[in-house]
């Protein structure tokens, strides 16, 4: 959610559709709203009502500076985590020192 909001502010359904476009990121559309409210309570997201011509008023959510910091920290952690997990998953038998007798 923070990564999407980093690109530009979005209203609720827009965010839901963008998340739904990434398979598996959204179990049900409604869960986005409690999550947004928790992010708002944590100071990572803010919201404002916008009246645009020809459209009904919508509540747009934006990322805050604290949200950007959190996102940057998460990206760094995730990159490290992904490297570690990738190393384990791609580990091949020949890469390690294995005793000829199988280690017994």
């Amino acid at each position: 959610v923070l990564a999407l909001l980093e690109l530009r502010p979005r209203f609720g359904l827009e965010l839901v559709r963008d998340l739904a476009a990434s398979d598996g990121l959204l179990t049900s559309d409604g869960t986005v709203y409690p999550l947004l409210n928790r992010l708002r309570d944590a100071g990572l997201v803010t919201s404002e009502w916008r009246d645009e011509e020809g459209e009904r008023a919508r509540r747009y959510y934006s990322i805050t500076p604290a949200g950007r910091e959190t996102l940057a920290a998460f990206r760094a952690e995730w990159a490290q985590f992904a490297t570690t997990v990738g190393g384990v998953l791609n580990h091949r038998e020949g890469d390690a020192h294995v005793a000829p007798d199988g280690g017994r």
Partner: protein, 287 residues
């Protein structure tokens, strides 16, 4: 601005929002109201102006069951300390209580100490939970309503019919452990004219495109724990409105008896319910 009436009035959406209200009743009120508004906005954005039943069912299915949404919303919503909730409700109720209730309370405390515990339970029981306005009562109004939205606030407006009965239906849910009895409207809570309220009996009723049919209304009426009722709020319109002028309400105040106490419950409507001018014939008051 855009009409949202057709979407809001779809029976499946009404039913979903009623379930959601019930599920959200245990959350702090401000969190419940916020999530309800977000879900309503989602439905308005996700559905076409005149959705089919299949389209509505698909959108509601993707939203997820109301109970799951409420459970999700409760995560991290630091529950208010029980002590705080109890003291706040106790304070509110003691300020509202009539002097008869004070005397009665004192007698009960003196004569039967065991009754104190019961009294505290009544004092701290959750108020009737609002489900918002359901619709205009009369077809004359229903067919002429104009729904608008600005700055996140929704409003439904109908022309005033001076000297005639007009009204709206609201829904309430009793989330306490005690039967609560609706006694009527609080005095002067409706600024449109002489007003009264009636509560639906627990009979079978049907929703015809947003209008209630087959409901029987009475007063006073008990609302047992865990049940919801519709309340008809009716008035004979006598307010003076010039052409283009409007008068509206955002809440309804009901007199409610719970145990030995009679109190005034404020039921927010989630949107503004307005009459528009001009008044015809004699009118007696200004909003």
């Amino acid at each position: 601005m855009m009409s949202t009436r057709t979407r809001r009035r779809h029976p499946l959406i009404r039913s979903y929002l009623r379930e959601l209200d019930l599920a959200l009743a245990k959350l702090p009120p401000e969190k419940a109201v916020e999530l309800r508004q977000q879900i309503r906005a989602h439905l308005q954005d996700a559905l076409p102006q005149r959705p089919s039943a299949d389209e509505v069912a698909a959108v509601l299915s993707r939203l997820g069951p109301p109970a799951e949404l409420a459970a999700d919303a409760a995560i991290g919503a630091a529950p208010q300390p029980r002590q705080t909730v109890v003291m706040r409700r106790l304070g509110t109720r003691l300020r509202r209580a009539r002097w008869q209730s004070w005397v009665l309370s004192v007698v009960v405390v003196l004569v039967l100490a065991a009754g104190v515990g019961r009294l505290v339970q009544f004092l701290t029981a959750p108020l009737l939970q609002p489900g918002g306005g359901y619709g205009w009562v009369y077809a004359k109004d229903f067919n002429r309503e104009v729904d608008t939205q600005a700055g996140g606030a929704e409003q439904t407006t109908v022309p005033i019919r001076s000297g005639q009965l007009q009204g709206l239906v609201i829904t309430i849910t009793n989330t306490s452990d005690f039967t609560q009895t609706v006694l009527g409207l609080a005095p002067n809570s409706i600024p449109f004219g002489t007003a009264f309220a009636r509560v639906s009996e627990p009979n079978h009723w049907i929703d015809i495109g947003g209008m209630i049919a087959n409901a029987r209304y009475t007063l006073p009426e008990d609302v047992p724990p865990g049940q919801f009722r519709m309340v008809e709020v009716l008035w004979r319109s006598s307010v003076c409105l010039a052409r283009g002028a409007q008068a509206g309400i955002q809440q309804v105040q009901l007199r409610v008896r719970i145990g030995w106490l009679v109190e005034t419950d404020t039921i927010p409507l989630f949107e503004g319910w307005y009459l528009s001018g001009p008044s015809h014939g004699p009118c007696r008051s200004r909003p």
